[in-house]
Symmetry: C2
């Protein structure tokens, strides 16, 4: 199907918006009136610009408060409409959106609404224009799709049809059965379809609509369900995104447009009108790669954690550190950013790296140029929205190239402790740029096939953070996406690698005995644990001694502690018992405050 | 009355919060449990710190999900409570907040709730502690203040009382009569009063409460009305602020605490329990002062606008430019900030400058050190939250010193055109730091006696701006406070001085004839004006030629145009007709886009 995007969904000048929509591969745009008014380009120049960019102008919008008016007011509305139809002629736009009347002048009179919409359609027809009438969810008298359709049907005019907007429909209906009536509308009378998702917020419809819409798959609406009804009705027009979102208004238009297109690809995959390569979900974390200007501090931490440096890359200053199934690459690259040590890449273990890469590319993930030399093993990689490099790879697979083929054991390298089954990567926590949190969640779901978990607010002493995990169902891959309270916090919070162990107490003791420093946790925290839970003799004292945090839910328990921070990176030791699926969120405020307090204590 | 603030209302570590509360002059604090858990200080150390800072610990909070539980669950709750009462003993806190139960385990059984709260109060009494029971607005069965009070009354325990929270009460009641029942509660059974305001949002109560509370006078609740009821009931405890606000969480704790204290001073003034010096509202704008590293570009604009340099300060490089009642000081000071030319100070004409200054000081406005030399006329000044210096002064008043006494006519200075009645300052537009918008509105209302108008969202091409005017009722002083979409935009938007004229067309023509450059406005804007309004022959063409924007409402018309930008400052020419009270908000997106497009065109 053709795809389109409303200019209001993107940031910047009209020219910037059109360029971004075209580059992202959209077929057309809806021109939002304010964007035209604010543009120094004439309508003819806008038309030519769109043509040059390969974009059709699928809709001009909106026309407001037109129908069911006292005759005098309607005459004024018709006068306005004549001006706009002439403008549309110059633009080359043939469909205009008319929103249902919200003004106090509007009369509760469907027959009058139909009659006046018919007269508007007469005028439109003279200009070769179609009128798409849409029910706003807060329309004064007409605010449901079926009511708008009844009025359109009553008017019975060839140049009058309806426009369906997923926000206005799904924000009002709880029961999927309520929207089945869409299928009864003749497809050729559905002149347009506008798509937006939204998080499920209990708030005033107008505010919800104006500030919190998002792209399909980023919110809580069942857009696939809606789209199936619209397709069964016979709709053949474009899928068009109309998203009012305070964050997108500030974001780079190019990125937003790609994010938008990806959302439509995924939606079309769901309803079967597009078939990108099927997802090949990762089955584990092959490695995490740290880039550092100085390998010594992070190597010291890894050594104290019981990791052994088992191999070195044949052509680059990259060491492989290993304990059990946890593999960490330490890349002494140039210090690209002043933060020093950072988590730069993740190797995702997949049963078919090439298929994973094809999927990612089809879903518009930026494919990274090979950084390997020609003789290296082929490694497919894409960039995540936060810039993390994601490698699709295989480890010890009988019929696939092994990414470790480029590594050789070197003199002096240790060997990994023999506890393969007991250590691994529990999860990775990645701080996201503020403007790209929704994009990141959709990316990890759509491109990697991970499942987003619930979004959680976490109180840092200096602002609220938002955190959302994306995981495989079996928990073999867990990535926690975190975002600060405001754009300034983009880099204020560290990334971390959580290591799974079956004996967090032993691991913490051994780490400390080897000279590692654990994040100190306030005694008040343990007094509270004593109030909340009962522990065996000495158990709580052990946790307190080591700075181990504790959580328990109906499924199981979670014990975890933290190393000090090196650059932007720290490590967490994690022991899960039972089917505990969380990340110790109740402990996060205490951990974050302790990290702020320990600023002096953080290392290089 | 004593004043208190919950630690959750301020940003930072517990130590930072306590210090900020003390410095702002609060008498006590509510300690929020998470702040204690995250603190490395022992309870005894926290107690000592508070004592050193002159703060009492008025409340420990919260205890949750205690009452109306199955016996086994209640036993666990009592066990937790025992731990917390021991902790409170170490802290020296004698009142604990218990929130009404929200858990699915809670039973709908008031008798059981009363009985269990009584048993909790027994335990509390043994520790010398009082239990203040509060209805959360989203409590499972008990969610109104009167229901909570009935349960407390039924328990009939001396150590059990109620806590009233303005958010939980006012978020649920529309009719002022609904809260009169507060007066029927015996004052000595109101153990605590928590105050928070909130903007009137139609949204889920929990989200509204957790993210959007603000200090009294910053939202839409009638807190004075509520407080009068509570005082009539006989309450003698502290006024305590409990404000969950995403922005305050990120803001400097010291500033927030002062803002908080100011809000309570104003609230107490409203109900008559405090009497700061009465407000002396300004009656005009005496001058606006620009600071610039190079006077030439801004002097050229002023000259082209028909201003004359009429005088020069006797001791400083400050010129007075004047046209009619519009007076602008150009101060060639050191370039303090890289932005260059900026609006640094405003002279507010007041009938009693000393009284205005006393009021400001009593309401915690930072008093500025005199920058004048000893022989200069005395000028009282305070700093607004955005750093603008506000001078309280008199111009040509028979019995007050004239701020112009320090200025002398100098050779070569021109004289002002003879159009005193026709030119003046219409309004000043000041960009506010992102974290201080609510503070700024309250400051201008409380300290200066200006009245806040409605808050307006304005779509800039790169993000939504929020704008709110504070004015005198007669419009003699109008200040428009504007804030960007996110902290990064703090300085992205310019300040401006809007000059009132009774002939904007003539003024614009004269400005252009004198070499001034007007902001070009797209033709599409005028095509839209033609669709929306009818104009006399040639009228619209004149506006289009000059870049004059037009708005009309039921009260009157507004015509305005803009100069190019010098540093961070530009000028607007404004002609109001009839009783139009706005600022041309419908035109703001077009103007902002034009200013972005004209970046190359902006000067010095």
């Amino acid at each position: 199907m053709r795809t389109s995007i409303a200019t209001v969904s993107l940031s910047g000048s009209l020219t910037e918006k059109l360029t971004a929509a075209s580059r992202a591969g959209f077929d057309g745009v809806e021109i939002f009136e304010n964007d035209l008014l604010a543009s120094p380009l004439t309508p003819e120049e806008i038309r030519a610009r769109c043509a040059d960019l390969g974009l059709t102008i699928d809709l001009y919008q909106p026309m407001r408060d037109v129908e069911a008016l006292p005759e005098e007011d309607f005459a004024r509305a018709l006068r306005r409409a004549r001006h706009k139809f002439e403008l549309m002629g110059r633009l080359g736009a043939d469909t205009v959106l008319v929103c249902s009347n919200v003004s106090p002048q509007a009369l509760d009179d469907d027959a009058l609404a139909a009659e006046q919409l018919g007269r508007l359609a007469d005028l439109a027809q003279d200009h070769g224009i179609r009128v798409a009438y849409e029910a706003l969810a807060w329309g004064r008298h007409i605010n449901t799709y079926d009511h708008a359709w009844r009025v359109v049907e009553a008017a019975g005019h060839p140049s009058l049809g309806t426009c369906l907007d997923s926000f206005h429909i799904l924000s009002r209906y709880g029961d999927p059965k309520d929207i089945e009536g869409i299928e009864d509308i003749p497809g050729d009378k559905i002149f347009f379809l506008q798509l937006a998702d939204a998080p499920l917020l209990g708030m005033d419809l107008l505010q919800w609509s104006r500030h919190y819409r998002c792209f399909p798959g980023q919110g809580g609406f069942d857009l696939a369900g809606l789209l199936r009804h619209v397709l069964r009705a016979g709709y053949t027009g474009p899928l068009s995104l109309e998203v009012f979102n305070d964050v997108f208004r500030q974001s780079d238009a190019g990125r937003t447009a790609v994010d938008a297109r990806r959302s439509l690809l995924v939606l079309q995959e769901q309803v079967g009108t597009a078939a990108p390569p099927a997802p090949t979900a990762p089955i584990g974390v092959a490695f995490a790669e740290l880039v550092t200007p100085d390998a010594a501090p992070v190597s010291a931490v890894l050594g104290a954690l019981g990791f052994a440096r088992t191999a070195r890359h044949r052509g680059k200053p990259v060491d492989l550190w290993q304990r059990g199934d946890a593999r960490i690459l330490v890349n002494t690259g140039p210090a690209e950013r002043r933060e020093g040590t950072r988590l730069a890449a993740v190797g995702l273990e997949t049963p078919d790296p090439a298929a994973s890469a094809h999927r990612a590319e089809a879903l518009l993930a930026p494919v990274l140029p090979r950084r390997r030399s020609p003789e290296d093993a082929p490694l497919e990689a894409v960039a995540a929205p936060d810039g993390t490099e994601l490698f699709f790879c295989a480890t010890g697979h009988p019929r696939l190239p092994d990414w470790r083929a480029d590594f050789g054991y070197v003199e002096g390298a240790g060997s990994a402790p023999d506890d393969d089954a007991r250590w691994g990567v529990d999860h990775l926590s990645l701080t996201q740029p503020w403007h790209q949190f929704d994009e990141a969640v959709l990316f990890h779901r759509a491109v990697l096939g991970l499942r987003p978990q619930e979004s959680v607010d976490v109180a840092d002493p200096y602002g609220l953070l938002r955190s959302r995990a994306v995981t495989t169902d079996d928990g073999a891959v867990r990535i926690v996406l975190t975002v600060g309270a405001a754009p300034v916090d983009d880099t204020a919070h560290a990334q971390h690698i959580a290591l799974a162990t079956d004996d967090v107490v032993g691991a913490a003791r051994a780490y400390r005995a080897a000279g590692g420093r654990l994040l100190p946790i306030p005694d008040n925290y343990y007094a509270d644990l004593a109030a909340r839970f009962e522990f065996a003799d000495g158990e709580l004292e052990t946790y307190q001694e080591l700075g181990i945090l504790y959580d328990r839910d109906a499924q199981g328990t979670f014990r975890h502690c933290y190393t000090h921070t090196v650059g932007r990176v720290f490590f967490e030791l994690v022991q899960r018992e039972g089917a505990y699926r969380g990340y110790g969120a109740p402990n996060a405020p205490v951990r974050l405050a302790a990290q702020h307090a320990a600023r002096g204590f953080t290392g290089g």
